[in-house]
Amino acid sequence: MKVLAIDTSSVVATCAVLDEEKLLGEYTLNQDMTHSERLIPMVKTLMDSLKLKPENIDLFAGSVGPGSFTGLRIGLATIKGLAHVVDKSVIGISTLEALAFNVPFDGVVIPIMDARRDRVYTGIYRWENGKLINIMKPTILNIDELLDIVDPNYEKVLFNGDGTFVFKDRIDEKLKEKALYAPISLNMAKASSIGELALLKWEEGSEENYFKLSPDYLRESQAQRQLNEKR
């Protein structure tokens, strides 16, 4: 069973093809550039190198968020378009879960994505017997709020994601030597993690269709929030 996975929720654009046994190929660019311009050419380069065509793919996986609203839509519009043409299933994966999945670490993993103005998209995860367990659901929090709710009983906490570039000093100040950080290659989105999680979900029987799959922004649009406040 071959999976094509994509993540464009942050500045990273990444796509990968994998099956149950191995990662066949992964193409990742981590540079500030327009995803819409690069993504399909990246997918084509990867697929052509593997001598694969979209009809050889059995499952299409994309990150549903949180992350850049525009980035999420570019990724999902692409995944939905590809799956639609070849009429295959799609699976949406949380960007944060995929970040946590990057680091099989015996302890707590807290992915943080910069959501600007001192806020992070975050969730709390823990590896137990080789399985990734979600402890706190994905949400948007002020960085200090997050650090306040980190359980003092945790022995070690591993942070990854682009929020680490912005908030490392504040994390260290609060959590001291309890805080750990991922190696650089695991600090960023990897389409292979999206794809592997999609395969696990598929085996558990979950399946979505390309009509319904939409981003999970975790935030209403600003216009909607302002409208809500007026009421």
Binding site: A77, L82, H84, V85, S221
Partner: protein, 340 residues
């Protein structure tokens, strides 16, 4: 007989999610338009982020409906056309990402389309024998362009608005009159009962020889008039304000268009864009056209609004003249008429 060319077209530049299937650029097999107007009404105008969210939820459903209604399958598609600008960047990105994925998966050419040229091409669908050259006035919520169509792909930009688009002025004046969004159709309707000579609003014509437009001065004149009347405690006849404002706008649009047509010896003037559905504009242009022996053409109301069929028509003409895009195609929110 050459093989038919089947085009799948996608349009998401503003608040309509649309997908169409065309045969040979002029025959519409389907043209599905999902309008978000009800969603944006509560905000008093189009909210870009809200529009983009709606596009990603809808896009594949609309594509599927377009294919089904046309009675074709993905495998029947020869080219994929998509709007690359001008428009709202986030909204355009949904359509272009979807179109690229489909073009790649089908291994068929991708063709990026200028939305304004698309509006003009709506006339090739409506009028099966229409051929360039002709003079064209494109008016919509976001655009006011005076264009000379030299060929199916060469559209010469002659004049444009220097500030507000005509449709934008309609919306702003409507809001100041307490009328609902969108303002254009409401003002057009009220104008039928109001007196267009009741208030003498300025006709902003700029310099003698310019084909450019400017509507912000006119809009300000309307706002000043409303303020003065309120201060004096005098009654405002909404119908008369609407009719007098609309008259000022359409006189300027019509006179400049007629002048260009005469200068270029055009026997045909083509109207395009959302405001082309304005009856006051159509009527005045037809009266002036018949005086000058110029034929006036415009699309049906559906083809005036943003729709994918017009994008498909433009994509077809680009394709047969060899103007294909590659998969690195970018969106251009401020795409100009003379840009590829």
């Amino acid at each position: 007989m050459e093989k038919d060319i089947i085009t799948l077209a996608i349009e998401t530049s503003c608040d309509e999610t649309s997908c169409a299937v065309l045969k040979n650029g002029r025959e519409v097999l389907s043209n599905i338009i999902s309008s978000q107007i009800e969603i944006h009404r509560k905000f008093g105008g189009v909210v870009p982020e809200v529009a983009s969210r709606k596009h990603i939820e809808n896009i594949n459903i609309i594509i599927d409906r377009a294919l089904k209604e046309a009675g074709v399958d993905f495998k029947d598609i020869d080219i994929v056309g998509v709007t690359r600008g001008p428009g709202l960047v986030g909204a355009l990105l949904v359509g272009i990402s979807s179109a690229k994925a489909i073009a790649y998966a089908l291994d068929k050419p991708l063709i990026g389309v200028n939305h304004i040229k698309g509006h003009i091409c709506a006339n090739y669908i409506e009028h099966k024998t229409l051929e360039p050259p002709f003079t064209c006035l494109v008016v919509s919520g976001g655009h006011t362009y005076l264009v000379q169509a030299n060929s199916y792909t060469d559209y010469e930009l002659i004049g444009r608005t220097r500030d507000d688009a005509a449709g934008e002025a309609f919306d702003k004046v409507a809001r100041s009159l307490g009328l609902p969004y969108p303002g254009g159709p409401v003002i057009d309707k009220l104008s039928k009962v109001g007196n267009p000579r009741a208030i003498d609003f300025p006709r902003p014509c700029l310099e003698e020889n310019s084909y450019d437009f400017s509507f912000s001065g006119l809009k300000t004149a309307v706002l000043n008039y409303l303020n003065q009347m309120k201060q004096k405690g005098e009654e405002i006849v909404v119908e008369d304000v609407a009719a007098s404002f609309q008259q000022a706008v359409i006189e300027v649009l019509v006179e400049k268009t007629i002048r260009l047509a005469k200068e270029r010896n055009s026997k045909i003037i083509v109207l395009a864009g959302g405001v082309a559905a304005n009856e006051g504009l159509r009527n005045l242009l037809e009266i002036r056209g018949s005086e000058e022996d110029i034929e006036i053409k415009y699309p049906s109301t559906t083809l005036c609004t943003d729709n994918a069929a017009m994008i498909g028509s433009c994509a077809y003409f680009n394709y047969i003249s060899g103007q294909n895009s590659d998969l690195g195609l970018t969106v251009e929110p401020n795409l100009e008429l003379d840009q590829k």
